[in-house]
């Protein structure tokens, strides 16, 4: 076969992920058989539905990678849409916010992804933080309802920043021009997703096996120091081991992985705080075993823009 080196690397990464999932499915089946003995068991059943959902998610990501840049942009456009829907559905708004929310869904979201598609960095990096930031409260004010005004407009803006602006920095990685790395930008996304989601998974595994002391009991009952340290350390090692797929040296890859793991961890804490305040456990029900889109994406949301700008500052001349 006549595959380019970057396609070969991508296929190897998918092969690796495939192997890990196969292992996870086998362990899940074994636990179900030996520990739960076929009976319902909340932790093991949840583990198995999480693994099953991962098969689907990896399948969807693989499909979008196969379609190249357009496929990735469409995938993250849809992810942003579902994340924004989950966020706005739980936010307190009133009739006066209707126009602002409609603009967020039907103008801000498509325009942001269009700007990334045409690679207009100067505008997509300020479109939501500047233009949407100013226009949305104007639209809400025109609605004429002053009750809890600042709170309501802040929620619409925050939802747009988190669900659209931050998430859109994942496909924006495709626009970076790194000398000597041309045509291989999909690997930048693969590194981000594997390290950040790997960190979530490893924190879960370490936490379930050794977790005792809670990091932030009032925010998230499932996050423990043992899970955090073990998960972040092993995900950093994983990132370093993947240096050959990136423009980084092993040391740089480890440092980058550590940075995005920590951002991901704190992102999870922030999004948990919002959920606790609203009295819900999950953002939605879209992904079996995980909760909603935002439950799966909270760490990527906080890691992506930092990763993007670190790459852009140090690797793009």
């Amino acid at each position: 076969m006549n595959l380019s080196p970057s396609t070969q690397t991508t296929l190897m990464l998918f092969g690796g992920v495939f192997g890990v999932l196969l292992l996870a499915s086998s362990i899940g089946a074994l636990l179900k058989w030996r520990v739960a003995r076929g009976e319902p068991h909340s932790v093991i059943d949840n583990l198995n539905s999480r693994v099953n959902a991962w098969w689907v998610m990896i399948g969807v990501i693989g499909l979008s990678f196969a379609c190249g840049k357009n496929g990735v942009i469409v995938l993250f456009y849809l992810i942003s849409f579902y994340a924004l829907r989950e966020f706005m559905s739980l936010a307190y708004t009133r009739r006066g916010d209707h126009l602002a929310i409609a603009v967020a869904f039907f103008i801000a979201l498509p325009v942001q992804y269009f700007l990334i598609w045409i690679d207009w960095y100067g505008l997509y990096s300020i479109f939501i933080p500047v233009y949407a930031f100013l226009v949305l409260p104007i639209l809400a004010a025109v609605g004429g309802d002053t009750k809890r005004f600042l709170e309501r407009t802040s929620k619409v803006q925050w939802g747009l920043m988190i669900c659209v602006f931050c998430i859109s920095h994942v496909p924006a990685l495709l626009t970076l021009q790194i000398p000597g790395f041309e045509g291989r930008n999909l690997l930048l996304i693969a590194f981000l997703v594997i390290v950040v989601q790997g960190s979530d998974v490893l924190q879960y595994v370490w936490g379930k096996l050794f977790g005792k002391r809670k990091v932030a009991p009032e925010l998230s009952p499932s996050k423990t120091w043992e899970g955090l340290v073990g998960g972040v350390a092993s995900a950093t090692a994983l990132g370093a081991a993947l240096y050959w797929t990136t423009p980084f040296s092993p040391g740089q890859a480890a440092l980058m992985a550590l940075t995005i793991c920590m951002m991901g961890f704190f992102g999870g804490l922030v999004m948990s705080a919002i959920k606790r305040d609203r009295g819900v456990k999950d953002w939605g029900t879209m992904i079996e075993g995980h909760g909603g889109m935002l439950d799966r994406l909270d760490s990527v949301v906080f890691a992506a823009p930092i990763y993007f700008h670190a790459l852009r500052y140090w690797w793009v001349p």
Binding site: R85, E86, I101
Partner: protein, 226 residues
């Protein structure tokens, strides 16, 4: 029921029903939450909060397909018979029970409770909105009309299932043109039964509480901050 799937109108109605349900699902991602009860092929009166013309569509879309076929929404004739399209949707697609709400006495069809009782006695399941009108203001739930009590008395064999439709009011508030794609849910609760000798006000208060109790926790929290 005059519908036959062979006729052109019947096919158009079935296709329209499918399209409307699909559109409702895509727009609102609606999901059904059955707590303390399950869908049953028994004669049922669903009573729900009413904030939008789309309420019965959403409720209907979340019912299993076999229950949809036997469940008719109760709809206001004054709204659904004003144009050919609305008549088609109301009569042919949803087979709605058209009632007159103007209360002009004397004429046939001006007695909503009587019409609903008749339909229930004929074996239909119904979707009704006990507030009697659409709630377009800030109130969570308007006071319930007494119709529910009279129906419970006249048809004790019918399951009375409280339903809470969440978020649809925010999708398309009154006076706006563009619907926003917020996630909606339809929550079904434990059926209530009219107790022996229970008076009207007690029963209506209980039905109202059963509806309000179905709200998600975060909606109930909003009550404390008026």
């Amino acid at each position: 029921m005059s519908r036959s799937p062979q006729s052109g109108l019947g096919l158009a109605a079935a296709a329209s029903a499918w399209l409307i349900v699909l559109a409702a699902r895509l727009l609102t991602g609606v999901r059904a939450i059955w707590s303390g009860t399950t869908p049953k092929a028994e004669q049922t009166l669903y009573f729900a909060n009413h904030t939008s013309h789309g309420d019965f569509v959403l409720l209907w879309a979340t019912l299993p397909a076999d229950l949809r076929a036997i469940t008719r929404p109760v709809a206001g004739q004054d709204y659904w018979e004003t144009s050919a399209l609305r008549r088609f949707i109301g009569n042919d697609v949803f087979n709605a029970l058209m009632i007159r709400r103007d209360g002009a006495g004397g004429q046939a069809g001006s007695d909503p409770v009587g019409q609903m009782t008749e339909a229930l006695l004929a074996g239909d399941s119904l979707i009704m909105f006990p507030e009697g009108t659409r709630n377009t203001g800030d109130e969570v739930l308007l006071p319930l009309k007494s119709g529910l009590y009279h129906l419970a008395r006249a048809c004790p064999q019918v399951r009375l299932v409280p339903v809470w439709i969440e978020n649809l009011k925010r999708v398309l508030p009154k006076g706006t043109l563009v619907p926003i794609p917020l996630a909606c849910s339809v929550r079904y609760g434990v059926p209530i039964v009219l107790a022996e000798g229970e008076d009207k006000n007690t029963f209506i208060a209980r039905a109202r509480a059963a509806m309000l109790d179905l709200r998600p926790e975060y909606d109930r929290a909003e009550d404390t901050t008026p």
